[in-house]
């Protein structure tokens, strides 16, 4: 009964949603006539004043950098909330749940892979303004590196203090750069560094700095998330 009702409701909802998007149209210009979409401005300005190769990066970090600040905050909050929800007085380290008993091949392999993953992650976020990828992607990759280590080694532990210091410093860097821009150029997150040459590593002004900060922050936060959840050994798990 309930299922049928839900299916019916969803059918109507789906119909309207689909029709709406069919109206918009796929793969062709869909903006209303007479409207100059901001994406054109973004694309134009990405090259000229910003000298960033990756338009997504320029949007994420500069045009809509405020969103990114909020997004980083969301992750930060998620870690905080996770810690708060799963908080219990810590008894001892090493009581975390083990997903599988890693063989020596896995452990050795992980050890080998770990630096490579970290390097990849760093590369991704340092080159965020030049190529696909950026702070988030790089941060996530680094976090997966830690995840690998956490899974492979039963008593591998990440210092909570270190994580939170990295996280805080990265966050402060982001917000601080924004405030510097505020003091320098009058608006928050103003790009106050020299633009450089397109497709050079040192280009795009504050964008790489912010993306590096974001990378560190995301890495620390996601590692924190995994670590917190992993440490949550199910007590009533019969």
């Amino acid at each position: 009964m309930k299922k049928v009702l839900v299916i019916l409701l969803l059918a109507v909802l789906g119909y309207y949603t689909a029709v709406t998007f069919f109206d918009i149209g796929f793969g062709q210009p869909h903006f209303v006539a007479g409207v100059k979409p901001v994406k054109d401005i973004y694309l134009a300005k990405t090259v000229k004043p910003l000298t960033v190769s990756n338009a997504v990066t320029s949007i994420v970090v500069n045009f809509r950098g405020f969103d990114t600040l909020g997004e980083v905050t969301v992750l930060f909050l998620a870690v905080t909330v996770l810690g708060s929800v799963l908080y219990k007085k810590r008894h001892a380290v090493g009581e975390r749940s083990v997903l599988f008993n890693a063989s020596s091949i896995v452990t050795a392999g992980s050890k080998l892979l770990f630096p490579a993953i970290i390097l990849l992650g760093a590369y991704v976020f340092i080159h965020g303004h030049l190529s696909p990828g950026g702070g988030f992607q790089g941060g996530v990759i680094i976090a997966t590196g830690f995840l690998l280590m956490l899974l492979a080694y039963e008593n591998y532990s990440v210092s909570h203090t270190a994580l939170s210091i990295v996280e805080s410093l990265a966050g402060i860097t982001f917000a601080g750069v924004g405030l510097l821009g505020f003091m320098h150029g009058g608006t928050f997150l103003q790009n106050f560094l020299p633009a450089g040459v397109l497709n050079n590593l040192f280009s795009g002004g504050i964008i790489p700095i912010i993306y590096i900060a974001v990378g560190f922050k995301v890495a620390a936060e996601l590692t924190g998330v995994i670590y917190t959840v992993l440490n949550e050994k199910g007590e009533s798990n019969g």
Binding site: K2, L5, V6, L9, L10, V12, L13, Y16
Partner: protein, 615 residues
């Protein structure tokens, strides 16, 4: 600063300081309490000039405070009775725990009533009206959790009334763009017919609640009888008059201007008449003096409503005179009951008897008040009722006269019961220790009794201000023609000096009482109710053989079928049904998160389906 501001400041500050003074010293609290009632009362009568308004703007709304002759008349009731009741309250509340609470609300309700009378605009009228409601509500529930439902009933009815009034107020504001009463009166004749009808109805709802008019009276008996008696005298005596005040204003300033006004008047008059009958019949059946007086208040308010609803000069005079009288005698009677309750711990006739020698002064004031209530000359009640009958007859409401006459005759039964139940009868050992109430309590009662005596003899003292008040409302100067319009007095000649006749009647009456008392005193044998050895059967300890038990049993049997259908029950059934519906409704919140998510989808889907209709 204008005196009006000073009055309100003293009231407000007095209320707050009185509340907290209890933490310092009890006597200080009493003194502050009296000061914060009596000083404003003095200032009011000494310094507030009639017809002078103060204007102020609050929250973008222009308010206006001032007084005219008509409201001055009611302020006599409020502040006069309020002051006396305040003095009484000091004695009554002695030794009670929550005195600060009581005093605080007492002062506030007096302030609110004064404010109502001073209001020349609807917003401050409403504000003071609501303050009056909640302060009196807070006193009503003074006696603990048993009266919670009674208090809530009172508040709910008041709120319904007040909100109806609020609706009327904002509609008036919508039409006139102003909250001033003067503007409303001015604009009323030009309003659309539906507004002309609905606005008075809504106002009358509010005033009808406070005046305990028939379908809206169900809160009154409980609230009157359960509030502390020191307040009930004000509650029944003055607060209910606010309803009368408002009703008069509505009737005179609005209803008079439309042709349908006749119907308003007829309906109101009949509602008043029915209220009187029902109240009286219920009053007779009570064994508790507080309840009895409460119902009797309802009945008396019925007369008053009838009087002002008829609306001829004579009827208005009668109604307003009765209003003043009612404030006096009902105030006194509630004080009497309070004194008895204070001294004996109960107010039940079937328990307390034979107090006449224990509390003679209380008895005296009760006697005078009862005489006034019953409308026996030479006290004021007679004058009022006389005028009421006459106005009814002269305006051709013969059926209504019968109804009112029935009610007022039946009232004798409970008057008798009250007087006899408490003061006459055997003296029980149980009450042997009972002493007269302290002077602060007796004095206000006696003062009021004196007033009743004076008013009965010289009704002109109060009829003159009423006349002034009515003139302020636009009535012709009727007082000097009063005796012209009076048929019966007219047949005796235009200039009858009433006083000698009344006094001779009273003198003979008193003489007989004195004679009988003196005669009977020698032969009286004081026995307990348990001491009925003559009948050969010895009653058990717990049997209540006070004669008040089953008093007027045949009468109950006669009216029992009519009494069974209480309006109260319908209201209760309605409320229960409503709560059951609510209980059912809130099960929408099933506690299951998925259900809530489905609600979201339902909401979206419904909106999507009806989107062309909605937007």
């Amino acid at each position: 600063m204008n005196t009006i501001y000073i009055i309100f400041l003293i009231f407000l500050g007095g209320a707050v300081f009185t509340y907290f003074a209890g933490k310092i010293h009890k006597v200080l609290q009493d003194i502050l309490f009296l000061v914060s009632i009596l000083v404003p009362a003095y200032l009011f009568f000494a310094n507030v000039e009639i017809g002078q308004n103060v204007n102020l703007t609050l929250g973008g709304i222009s308010l206006s405070w001032g007084i005219n002759y008509f409201s001055w008349l009611f302020s006599l009731i409020v502040l006069g009775l309020g002051s006396l009741a305040a003095i009484y309250a000091v004695g009554f509340m002695k030794g009670e725990k929550r005195r600060g609470y009581f005093y605080f609300n007492f002062i506030l309700s007096i302030m609110a009533m004064t404010g109502i009378l001073l209001s020349r605009d609807l917003v401050s009228f409403f504000v003071f009206w609501e303050i009056m409601t909640w302060s009196s509500y807070l006193i009503t529930i003074y006696n603990g959790n048993k009266v919670q439902s009674i208090g809530i009933k009172y508040f709910v009815f008041s709120a319904i009334g007040a909100y109806a009034m609020l609706m009327a107020i904002v509609m008036v504001h919508h039409i006139t763009g102003s909250f001033l009463i003067g503007d409303m009166i001015h604009a009323y004749p030009a309003m659309a017919l539906s507004m002309q009808i609905w606005i008075p109805i809504m106002f009358l709802m509010a005033f009808g609640v406070k005046a305990a008019m028939m379908p809206l009276h169900v809160w009154a008996p409980g609230a009157y009888s359960n509030a502390p008696m020191a307040y009930t005298s004000v509650f029944s005596g003055a607060l209910s008059k606010m309803g009368i005040y408002g009703m008069t204003l509505v009737l005179v300033t609005m209803v008079n201007h439309i042709p349908q006004g006749v119907w308003f008047r007829e309906v109101l008059a009949w509602l008043g008449g029915i209220t009187a009958v029902i109240g009286t019949l219920w009053a007779i059946q009570q064994d508790d003096a507080k309840k009895l007086l409460a119902y009797s208040s309802v009945a008396q308010l019925g007369y008053i409503i009838t009087g002002i609803a008829i609306g001829t000069e004579l009827a208005m005079l009668a109604g307003l005179f009765l209003a003043v009288m009612h404030a006096l005698f009902k105030g006194t009677l509630f004080m009497v009951v309070g004194a008895i309750e204070k001294q004996t711990g109960t107010s039940n006739f079937t328990e307390v008897t034979g107090l006449i020698r224990k509390m003679p002064w209380t008895f005296l004031s009760a006697l005078l008040a009862i005489i006034a209530l019953a409308g026996i000359p030479p006290l004021g009640g007679f004058v009022g009722k006389w005028m009421l009958y006459e106005s009814l007859i002269t305006s051709n409401h013969y059926l209504l006269v019968i109804v009112i006459f029935f009610a007022s005759t039946a009232a004798f039964l409970y008057c008798y019961k009250f007087l006899f139940g408490f003061f006459m009868g055997q003296e029980e050992k149980e009450w042997a220790h009972v002493k007269e109430a302290p002077a602060v309590m007796v004095l206000p009662m006696l003062i009021m009794a004196l007033f009743m005596l004076v008013l009965g003899t010289f009704p002109g003292i109060i009829l003159n201000p009423i006349n002034h008040g009515l003139q302020a409302l636009g009535y012709a100067d009727s007082y000097k023609h009063l005796w012209d319009t009076s048929i019966i007095l007219n047949s005796w000649g235009n200039k009858v000096v009433l006083q000698p006749i009344l006094y001779s009647i009273a003198g003979i009456f008193l003489f007989f009482i004195a004679f009988l008392t003196w005669k009977g005193y020698k032969n009286t044998r004081f026995i307990s109710t348990k001491d009925i050895s003559s009948s050969g059967e010895v009653p058990k300890e717990d049997e209540n053989l006070t004669f008040s038990v089953g008093f007027m049993q045949p009468f109950y049997r006669a009216v029992e079928p009519a009494m069974r259908r209480q309006i109260d029950k319908y209201y209760n059934a309605f409320a229960d049904g409503l709560e059951a519906t609510f209980e059912f409704l809130r099960r929408i919140y099933t506690g299951n998160g998925q259900t809530y998510a489905i609600y979201v989808i339902v909401f979206v889907v419904v909106m999507l389906l009806f989107k062309d209709f909605l937007f």
